[in-house]
């Protein structure tokens, strides 16, 4: 990173910082129970829930493991699993 006055850089730099490695637990979605309501995606503070081929998936590059998605899931379809070394 270049030392610019005021740390002024082009927008969107958060995409360059893979904050997923801060995580000590990860959400696992049970696709059979998932009702595809989208609440997990709406509440994720890191925009780390993505929809791919009509399935909800976690972007592990950016998921910090906060567990809000699991807490808010109305179908109890998300479990938080400890990350192992």
């Amino acid at each position: 990173m270049k030392i610019t006055p005021g740390a002024v850089v082009k927008g969107g730099t958060s995409l360059d910082y893979k904050t997923g490695n801060w995580r000590d637990q990860r959400p696992v979605i049970d696709q059979e129970s998932c009702k595809k309501c989208g609440i997990c995606r709406d509440v994720c503070p890191d925009d780390a829930v993505k929809v791919k081929d009509e399935q909800y998936e976690i972007d592990s590059d950016f998921c910090k493991g906060c567990g809000i998605c699991a807490h808010e899931c109305t179908a109890d379809a998300i479990n938080m699993i400890p990350e192992e070394k």
Binding site: P5, G6, V9, G11
Partner: protein, 396 residues
């Protein structure tokens, strides 16, 4: 063409700010600063100043408005005091880090508790580490002149830092003094419009103060320090330009007053300097070799100038209107750090004086000089600062 008016110190500041044509003024009231932003509100309402005047719900917001406006490329200004400045602290640190060149007047007032609205320097001193350039002024005229310089210094491409002009509450802000004003054309020539290198633009999105991990954060912080210290010659030049257009030279980063052959040199900032000058004159008349250093620019700290001015001096007596609890006064600490290890270093006495508006008059200064001479004769360095006129009876 110059105009002479008798105005309140606050009005003098507002007139200087108006002449600098700010785009944005944010405001939240707190004594003794309020008259400044009230005057600016009146100027905007009367159509004398074309600026966006934004009333906020707290000082935190007033500072945040400045940060946002400045990042958007606007010349921006506010003023505050005491608790208000403390509430701005987080934003002011961030603004220095984001290199946002706004100007803020820090009208000095004591900090609660106990609650007190009189002048001392604890409030602005608490911001000395934030990365703001700080000036302290002696008179309303100097406040007017320095505010003209402040925007130009802040916006200099090599500096790009917020500038805080510190001015004693009540003593200066609420006193009426003769103040000479510059005409608008002269100010416009001296201070052209703000030309930001970066500004917020939806067509070209940028991030200010982006995330910086341990591998680069020290370099960002060092760059702020470097902008300040390497900016000293530019600050001196801009102050000299103001001296030229106003015909008034208040000094550079410091003013050395009768220090040439002085045995005792006092060091002070703010309105007390005027009192000390009178005391120095009286003491000189009585045969004592006494001088004064007025620190005008406190951050960056003008140690080169001070060391030059105290060469050959026996005792340097610092007047600190602030205190770092559990340690000493800030200016004394700064000065001792720079004198340490020099073979010719004078003895330094750190006087803590004037907290909460306690009077410092000519007799006080006379006593402090006598005490300084006594310390010199004893040859012993005082282990602790001396609290001037402390009343032991009240301490039980």
């Amino acid at each position: 063409m110059k105009e002479v008016r008798v105005v309140e110190g606050s009005e003098a500041v507002a007139l200087a700010v108006k002449a600098c044509r700010p785009h944005v003024v944010s405001a939240f009231p707190i004594s003794p600063q309020t008259h400044i932003v009230e005057s600016l509100a009146r100027m905007v309402a009367d159509g004398e100043l074309s600026a966006e005047y934004i009333r906020t719900e707290s000082e935190f917001s007033a500072a945040s408005v400045l940060a946002g406006a400045s990042a958007a490329g606007s010349r921006s200004y506010t003023a505050s005091s005491s608790q208000g400045l403390l509430l701005m602290t987080e934003v002011l640190y961030a603004s220095a880090g984001m290199r946002l060149p706004f100007v803020i007047t820090g009208v000095n007032r004591s900090i609660s508790a106990p609650i007190n609205i009189q002048v001392d320097h604890q409030d602005t001193m608490s911001l000395r580490d934030a990365g703001l350039i700080q000036f302290y002024v002696e008179s309303s005229q100097e406040a007017y002149d320095i505010h003209l310089a402040a925007f130009k210094i802040a916006e200099d491409p090599a500096i790009m830092l917020p500038v805080m002009v510190c001015m004693d509450g009540w003593v200066l802000t609420h006193s009426y003094e003769r103040v000479e004003l510059l005409d608008q054309e002269t100010v416009d020539q001296f201070l052209p419009g703000f030309q930001p290198q970066n500004y917020l633009d939806p067509a070209d999105p940028k991030t200010w103060g982006s995330y910086a991990e341990a591998d680069v954060l020290m370099e960002f912080k060092y760059a702020i320090h470097q902008a300040m210290t390497a900016g000293k010659p530019r600050i001196r030049e801009i102050l000299a330009e103001v001296a030229t257009i106003t015909g008034r030279d208040h000094g550079g980063l410091i003013e050395a007053y009768r220090t040439d052959d002085a045995d005792v040199v006092l060091v002070a900032m703010g309105s007390v300097v005027g009192t000390i000058k009178d005391a120095v004159d009286a003491l000189r008349h009585g045969g004592k070799k006494v001088g004064l250093i007025k620190i005008r620019c406190y951050r960056p700290f003008p140690h080169t100038e001070i060391l030059e001015a105290v060469r050959g001096t026996r005792v340097v007596a610092v007047m600190d209107a602030n205190f770092s609890m559990g340690s000493e006064g800030a200016v004394g600490l700064d000065l001792k750090a720079k004198l340490y290890g020099r073979p010719d270093a004078p003895i330094v006495i750190d006087y803590i004086a004037g907290l909460g508006g306690r009077e410092i008059n000519i007799n006080t200064i006379g006593k402090l000089v006598e005490r300084a001479e006594e310390v010199y004769r004893s040859g012993r360095i005082l282990p602790e600062p001396e609290w001037v006129d402390l009343n032991p009876a009240l301490l039980g």
